[in-house]
Amino acid sequence: MTTSNLAGRWERFWFSPTGPEALGLCRVLFFALMLTYFGGVDFGRFARVPSAFFMPIPLFEYLHLPVLSEANLRRLAAVWNVSLVLSCLGVMLRPSMVVSWVIGVYLIGLQHNFGKTNHSDAALILVMGILTLSRCGDAFALRRGNRWAWSRDAVPARRQAHSGEYRWPLRMVWVLTTMIFMAAGLAKLRQSGIYWVTSNFLATLLVNHHYSHEPPTRWGLFLARFPILTYPAALGIVVLELSFPLTLISAAARRVLVPAMFLSQVAFGLLMGVWFFHFLALYLVWVPWDKLLAAARVSRPSLVAFLPSRACRSRALAGRGN
């Protein structure tokens, strides 16, 4: 492959012109999920955790971030919730997303200073950062025009033209997702090698989680009795994780590996009581929203009246181009 080929592929992967809807919709759904994850968390209680339990993660240790007082944590959480709502709706988007990211780093990070670092919410911080740096407010955003309304007539038409600006943030979340799953696969190989598969360790995990967690089903115990099932399942997990980078270059791989990974995480929840709810925010980005929205426009025009119209984008393309 020549350098120019490679550069062309890079350019197409990251910056092929795309409409703003998929990115805008992902922003709405992502921040809605953030509100469901964290809207009900009482962050104030962390101020009362005995000091012996405070074991700061490097972010807090090196930046000397303190645990704020209970009242201040509650105030900060309230501001955060408001900024998440505004980010979801697309109101004062840039400042509200910066605020939600900065406070999010502190509040989500704070929870990891008491003995256990949760991995799944780390990705949320990175996705929030990516969205903050993107133009995700050019669709599905409330703007003050003559009235508050979804972006159809409010966002200047020129900003709704197809652009690489609407593609790279989604692609970056793809890359992030890939890094996470590939890292998990590599860690298994580095720590345990093929022994992770050949030792029937999966059966051990399935049984032990009934002692350490509370799985909603006893299917894991049943499955663990059949090595003929657990060996291939363990191999499948490692292969799935290590082959996930294929999703970046192959649409066929995406169609198989992304749903397979999602289902394997659902299986972890059902069999072991380990739920990866935060990963839903990552899977959002793998949904082909452009195609779904286009199909919705054709079949149910009344339901999608708030979408930026094709005519609007066509005018923009004709008038300004990309």
């Binding site: 003995g115 029937n200 006893r218 009795r225």
Partner: protein
Amino acid sequence: MTAPRKRFVGILVGVLVSSHMACVALKGEVWPFCNYAMYSSVFPGGKWSTLKLVGVAAGDGGSEVELAEDQLPVTDLVMGFALRRLVRDGRVDEAAAQYLQWHLDERRRNGSKWRALRAVRVYRLHWAVNTAADNVDSPTDRELLVEATLEEGA
């Protein structure tokens, strides 16, 4: 898109990928960059052990009471990990004493809804794991690591 903007995106991609790869290579993590090594180390089956904080009720002969999750400063799962680190660092005595004071303070805050404690104990619980998991509520063995007691008049 302008060329500088594309370069900026390229730098972001580089930071994202290299940070994760560094975590994988160094087997470490600097949250929010992680190596996602959960469940990567194989351990033998057939046994399981964990650390547990148990209360000792005040005024009824010192019976032990289970501490529900709302009676812990962190979730039950996090408490297990925290106790493991505290035992490793030799600070579990201090943590147990602080917990007891925390329980007393929280009990005052919530109008004495919780049972009063006169002590807490940290146990290491061991199970001989069986594939039916029918002994989850009855550990095979338990080992007392620490007991912290309220001072008179507290």
